[in-house]
């Protein structure tokens, strides 16, 4: 790829979300807005290698997209109603300079971006569709990048995006920021999408790599952008705190040959103190806004306990147990219970933890969850019950789809056989 192409790519990454958002407000349809934006990109790819990148690339792209919209209308009545709006806008802007145009866009851009985020995460779409659409429209990822991130075929992603746009059109989803009773649930959906992307990068559910840091960066960036757009939403800061703090450990999570290193064995000197500081700041902001008991803020507070401990044996496990107690009350789930059991075992001994884990044995939701037998095996190992621990690790290994994790678990199973610590 030529230098100019790479530079244009960079401009696209910076400008595309705002461009699509601004156009979506004008034409009222996200799918159409993206088509117009893509047309403008094509035009840029044709012109800029020769003319150079304009001083205000965002304004150039927006103006080009608007002209395209008018051209399109001349061939189709679909957006006849919108033509008047666009035409009117363009007419009144005939005398405007690029700077004026830019200012006009900027006035609304924050709101438009927010509208776009909420629309891409609309509950009428399936979760996968929301993820694909968000990464595409707000993250600026190509279909190929999204496909590789989730290890699914590119055609599947492309289809998902096409269908998502069609669903939004057919359901006549309004391009707006939800208010009132709706808002909390809608915001929850947005946060869920962002965190899902983050988690896929943080501990990949499948594939060869234990982590995919670039995905974490994408999610974190989206979270930070959202926090700036909704500065008074405690849970947004809570989610950002959670992601900053978890990201601080990314460099310590994999060993020299890509093998996973568990939390308590990580070299804490490799934890990113800058990200820890940012995470703690975001958590404080959430707490100042009265959101200390929100689900994301609580999870962030748990991670913060680890972040504050300079060594594993300085971890305030009792505080972590208390936080899990609060989290279990708020968002009860077998997975939260499992994590709580681990914390209990660290604070009060493996027998106490095992009791709680055994109580989860019949949970249908955990039937295929590899961490349940993995944790059970771990606790049995600590209690010296090696022959019982081994089948647990083997079972866990059979449940995970991640190659690295499987190796780790089989290793632990083998070590139970020899009664030695795994290498």
């Amino acid at each position: 790829m030529s230098d100019t192409h790479r530079a244009i790519d960079a401009v696209w990454r910076i400008e595309s979300a705002r461009l699509i958002a601004g156009l979506a407000r004008i034409v009222g349809d996200v799918g159409l807005a993206e088509d117009l934006a893509q047309d403008a990109l094509v035009a840029a790819l044709e012109r800029w290698p020769e003319s150079g990148i304009p001083d205000n690339p965002g304004a150039w792209l927006m103006a080009t997209a608007k002209h395209r919209a008018i051209d399109m209308h001349r061939r189709s009545k679909r957006i006849e109603r919108k033509h008047e709006e666009i035409g009117h806008e363009l007419d009144t802007q005939q005398e405007m300079t690029v700077a004026d145009l830019d200012a006009a866009i900027d006035d609304d851009i924050g709101d438009d971006l927010l509208r776009l985020i909420f629309t891409a995460c609309h509950p009428v779409l399936s979760t996968e569709a929301r993820v694909a659409l968000t990464l595409r429209l707000l993250g600026g990822l190509t279909t190929d990048e999204i496909a590789r991130a989730f290890l699914i075929p590119e055609a599947t992603v492309a289809q998902r995006i096409v269908r998502a746009k069609r669903t939004l059109s057919e359901a006549r989803v309004p391009f707006e920021v939800p208010r009132g009773a709706d808002r909390d649930a809608r915001l929850s959906s947005v946060l869920g999408v962002i965190y899902l992307v983050f988690n896929e990068g943080y501990s990949a559910t499948a594939g060869d790599d234990w982590t995919r840091p670039a995905l974490c960066e994408d999610a974190l960036r989206l979270g930070r952008i959202l926090a700036e757009l909704t500065p008074n939403e405690a849970e947004v800061h809570g989610l950002v705190a959670l992601m900053e703090l978890q990201s601080s450990r990314l460099r310590a999570r994999t060993g020299p040959s890509g093998e996973p290193i568990l939390l308590l064995d990580q070299d804490r000197g490799r934890w990113d103190q800058l990200l820890i500081r940012r995470g703690l700041t975001a958590l404080a902001r959430a707490e100042q806004l009265g959101g200390a008991r929100g689900p994301y803020a609580l999870q962030a507070a748990i991670v913060a306990c680890h972040a504050r401990a300079r060594a594993a044996d300085e971890t305030d496990w009792e505080r972590i147990v208390a936080l899990y107690d609060a989290l279990a009350e708020l968002t009860p789930s077998p997975i939260v219970e499992l994590n709580r059991a681990v914390a209990v075992s660290m604070a009060y001994g493996p027998a106490a933890g095992l009791k709680l884990v055994d109580a989860l044995g019949g949970e249908p939701a955990l039937k295929k969850y590899h961490l349940l037998p993995s944790v059970r095996g771990d606790l049995l190992l600590k209690l010296g019950r090696l022959s019982e621990a081994r089948p647990e690790f083997e079972h866990a290994a059979s449940l995970t789809r991640n190659a690295r994790e499987r190796e780790l678990l089989l290793d632990r199973a083998r070590s139970c056989l020899n009664g030695t610590s795994p290498q």
Partner: protein
């Protein structure tokens, strides 16, 4: 990817000439854009080199040299740490920066090493750090 973005010093910055209120306002607006874009990780201004020092290393010898230092153009007057996807994106953001100094100036962009970049530099000694193995809980690391 992360980049350290450095504003190079000028005679003025070395002489302690502070930016005007207008300069501060414009730079403040720019930093806000970086924050809103989720790109900014850190930002600081550096005091003139007259307030700093250097330590020279030669074998076992350490020599302290007090500022100011003469190669003005090579000195760093301020820096940002950014998280972006490519060098090109960093360049594009830098181009949008208001003039960091009165008169001509320069901003340098350097990529931060990430763990993956170290590759084979992680030696057997480092491996030994992990020799004790994975002995604790399987809690999500």
């Amino acid at each position: 990817m992360r980049f350290l973005v450095m504003v190079k010093a000028t005679k003025d910055s070395e002489n302690g000439v502070l930016p005007t209120e207008k300069d501060f306002a414009e730079m403040g607006k720019y930093n806000e854009e970086l924050i809103k874009a989720g790109v900014l990780l850190a930002a600081e201004g550096l005091q003139p080199s007259s307030k700093g020092a250097r330590v020279r290393f030669s074998g076992p010898r350490r020599t302290v040299i007090d500022g100011p230092f003469s190669e003005t153009k090579e000195l760093v007057a301020g820096f940002w740490l950014w998280q972006v996807k490519s060098l090109e994106e960093a360049i594009e953001w830098v181009k949008r920066c208001p003039n960091p100094m009165a008169g001509d100036s320069e901003i340098e962009i350097r990529q931060v090493f990430e763990a993956e970049d170290f590759g084979d530099a992680l030696t057997p000694e480092v491996r030994a750090l992990y020799k004790d193995g994975i002995r604790h809980t399987s809690q999500k690391a």
